[in-house]
Amino acid sequence: MDFRGIMADAISSYKGRADYLEVRIEQREATSLLYRLAEADSVSVKLVLGGSVRALADGGWGFAAFNDLAAVGKACEDAVTSARYVGSCLPASEKVSLARVTTAYDEVDLGISRGAKDVTLSDKMRVLGEYAQILAKSDPRVVSSHVRYGDFYVRKYFANSEGAYIVSEGSDMNASFGASAMKEGRPVEAFEGVGSTLDFTDLEGKHDVAREVVETCIETLDAEPVKAGVYTVVCDPHLAGVFIHEAFGHLSESDFIAENEDARKMMTLGRRFGQDFLNVADEPVPAGLRGSYKYDDEGTPAVTAPLITNGLLVGRLHSRETAAKMGEPTTGNARAVNHKFAPIVRMRNTVIRPGKADFDQLIGDIKLGIFAKAAYGGQTMIEQFSFSAREAFMIRDGKLAERVRDVVMAGNLFETLLNIEGIGSDFRWTGHTGGCGKGGQFPLPVMMGSPSIRIKNVVVGGR
């Protein structure tokens, strides 16, 4: 189908009635597989074609999404009408303007070597079925297990009234493994995930990961729930990554602060958020990570955004709108989870830069603490946030001790970051499965990169 022609026609017909107009079209194929125990539980495929139009007129936004390509004109009409209506309601001080960006005319090849479309359904089933067998059959105490696989390949077409035209690809393949065993009538669980954007081969040969999930599940049977209290907590790279995503990443998203004077004051550049050794950034690189791309969903070239340097706030994440509003450079952080949504300010690959400490140094002088591993998830209300670990061990007299479970931690933006008192050298990328949710847009592929970190005075819930 001639998407470029359809988009160009729509833009030329309606751009006279808007200050800015963009059309996005997506062609997406996705597969979902679920094994429960060793049997297939659900197998489905979706073929999606759809698009959306976003218009800015008289300083107001309008948006319309569709999936019947014959309805592009109707969507343009709706978006423009909405935008003009919103614009007419806004006083001059509240009208939206957009930061200037280089007008891109580009086709971006992701460099997929063996993607979702290059592997047959039966090959996917065979690979994942082997993991399902291991999870279901290697220990009789495992009563339920699953392998949940999802992939997608999308071709995205972007055009706007400034003359930009970008064709790009998106790709993701990931699988999560879970096992449950029963303890006193209630399940204990263990999980792990594997994934890749460019090569299904990365998901092959992961039998050990499945075996480890079973082992962790069985070991957790003997673990007691953590005793509530205030502890020094050492987070492994995965949990540390989720921690920085929740604790600080979301606050760096400028749509929250751009229009709120009090939030801008709170987030003045130069404010201290951590000790001198804390360095945090959000990056659209390296290639092949789930949050890496050349242009965001507004067509803005993506660049690395340093957020905290030597403990001080140095930058934030922007869309064209927030960059213009705050008079700061664009970063290319406007992302939409799919064609049904308008782009909003989101993270990409968020990192804590590594320090020098090895793991034994991090835990060596902790009399009573917790080593918390991998993340169930996290959620933030800006100042207050929570993050939960999949696995945890007590630290006693500087050594790892017994396994505990149900470790969930409360954080406070202005205290917890300053309480980071040690940063390890064991940097790695995590977040191959799942994604980030905001404004109803979920799951957006993002990653986290971090070494282990040590935080003092963390409130851990429990009984």
Binding site: V45, L413, V459
Partner: protein, 436 residues
């Protein structure tokens, strides 16, 4: 649709096409300012078929690709789960349940903009330091199921829901007040909503310390989310049959407080999912998941029932046409009690009022475990709210908390974030961990 079904029936005898037409219109205000007006229309079809005893599913939004749709569905069936069931035929005469909130179908954009403006203006007047956020969303769905057993069932659902919140920042203190409303028998009143939000802000003006230890906690419907999620998952027939649900083997047993009755209710008027048939074409029925503490039957869709030799309870629902149905409640509704919230508060010597928790669902949900940082909560002393609490965790297990520790249940219900209809519930001996 008929074309897709016909094409599928060239390769197999059992097939079903689900067509969905979903329209959404939304007006949103951020930081007190009109942000955007959007409209979304999604149409598409999901094809489910059984070939050689196995079930496959494929969906598309592109009707020019119906041949590929059939091929894809056949491919998935080659790999899919075993299925011995057949799709249900014409159900005969069925009652009609009104799942269309008429006002939702009549709300125009300008009226929605005005609703938002009224909320923002009134709230700014009542609480000048806050930045109000609100969005008014109308959802209007039409669906049709057509299958090889002769079922041809159309249904329609319409609702509107309103998020109304606010942010107050003072130095490094951030207060976020989230609230939302889905009107069923009543309508949304923006000025009343503004008064509600302003009251929450006023109650939070002072930040007070709370103590570590077992505490009496009044949960709002939103505050109950962690526990409601646990019950929702626990009664899913799939988890019961797999043996990982804590309710396994407890049907007919009194395992929870006699103050607790929870319905799976497809008969609630103006609820978009209500209807005489579920989204697989099976008759629905109002069923007690929990009746005065006695555990009822789990809920099943066709496939899950088939896998384990049970009958579908009319609980096959879909998230649009892109995924196959799964066991799901039409509406989880906790039976109201007899106490006004003011009475429940007044009865508290010392405790907490929890309105919103962070991290609901991020933990061992199925086991009933919850451990949450309190996103919005207040301290209660001598029957009165004395200030906001921060940096505080509550923890427990839903099945324990709702067994021996329910003190009272409120008489008025609201929606939780997970879209359950629930009253306030006063629970004793919830574990609280404070920073000091």
């Amino acid at each position: 649709m008929e074309k897709i079904l016909k094409k599928a029936l060239e390769s197999t005898g059992k097939a079903e096409v689900f067509y969905g037409d979903y329209r959404t219109a939304e007006v949103s205000y951020e930081n007190g300012k009109l942000k955007t007006v959007s409209s979304v229309r999604m149409t598409g079809a999901g094809l489910r078929l059984i070939k050689d005893g196995r079930l496959g599913y494929a969906s598309t939004t592109d009707f020019s690709q119906s041949d590929r749709l059939v091929t894809a569905a056949l491919d998935t069936a080659a790999a899919g789960p075993r299925a011995r069931f057949d799709f249900p035929g014409d159900p005969g005469k069925i009652d009609s349940i009104d799942s269309v909130k008429e006002r939702a179908t009549k709300l125009g954009i300008s009226e929605m903009v005005e609703m938002g403006a009224k909320y923002v203006e009134k709230l700014k007047k009542l609480a000048p330091d806050c930045y109000p956020d609100t969005s008014i969303t109308v959802e209007h769905d039409r669906t049709r199921i057509l299958n090889s057993s002769g079922l041809d069932y159309e249904s329609e659902g319409a609702m509107y829901h309103v998020y109304f919140g606010a942010t107050v920042i003072k130095g490094s203190d951030v207060l976020m007040v989230p609230a939302f409303k889905i009107p069923l028998e009543d309508e949304y009143d923006p000025e009343l909503a503004a008064e509600e939000a302003a009251e929450k802000i006023r109650m939070a003006e002072k930040v007070v310390e709370a103590k570590t230890g077992p505490t009496t906690v009044l949960f709002s419907p939103m505050g109950l989310d962690s526990m409601l999620m646990a019950l929702g998952a626990g009664f899913n027939g799939k988890y019961v049959e797999l043996g990982v649900s804590p309710i396994k083997g407890l049907t007919g047993t009194k395992a929870l407080s006699d103050k607790l009755t929870v319905w799976n209710d497809p008969t609630v008027r103006y609820w978009y999912r209500s209807g005489a048939l579920d989204q697989e074409g099976i008759r629905t029925e109002k069923r007690a998941l929990i009746r005065e503490g006695v555990i009822g039957e789990p809920y099943y869709d066709l496939l899950t029932a088939d896998m384990y030799g049970r009958r579908s309870t009319g609980s096959g629902y879909r998230n649009g046409f892109e995924a196959p149905p799964s066991p799901s409640v039409s509406l989880m509704a906790v039976e109201p009690g007899d106490k006004e919230v003011s009475e429940m508060l007044a009865s508290m010597e010392e405790g907490l009022y929890v309105d919103f928790c962070l991290g609901a669902g991020q933990g061992n949900v199925l086991a009933g475990e919850f451990s949450n940082n309190i996103g919005l909560g207040y301290k209660v002393e001598g029957g009165k709210i004395v200030g906001r609490v921060k940096n505080l965790m509550i923890a427990g297990n839903a099945y324990d908390a709702l067994k021996d520790n329910i003190i009272s249940v409120g008489s008025r219900r609201g929606f939780s974030m997970t879209m359950c209809l629930a009253p306030h519930v006063l629970v004793d001996k919830v574990s609280v961990t404070a920073k000091k």
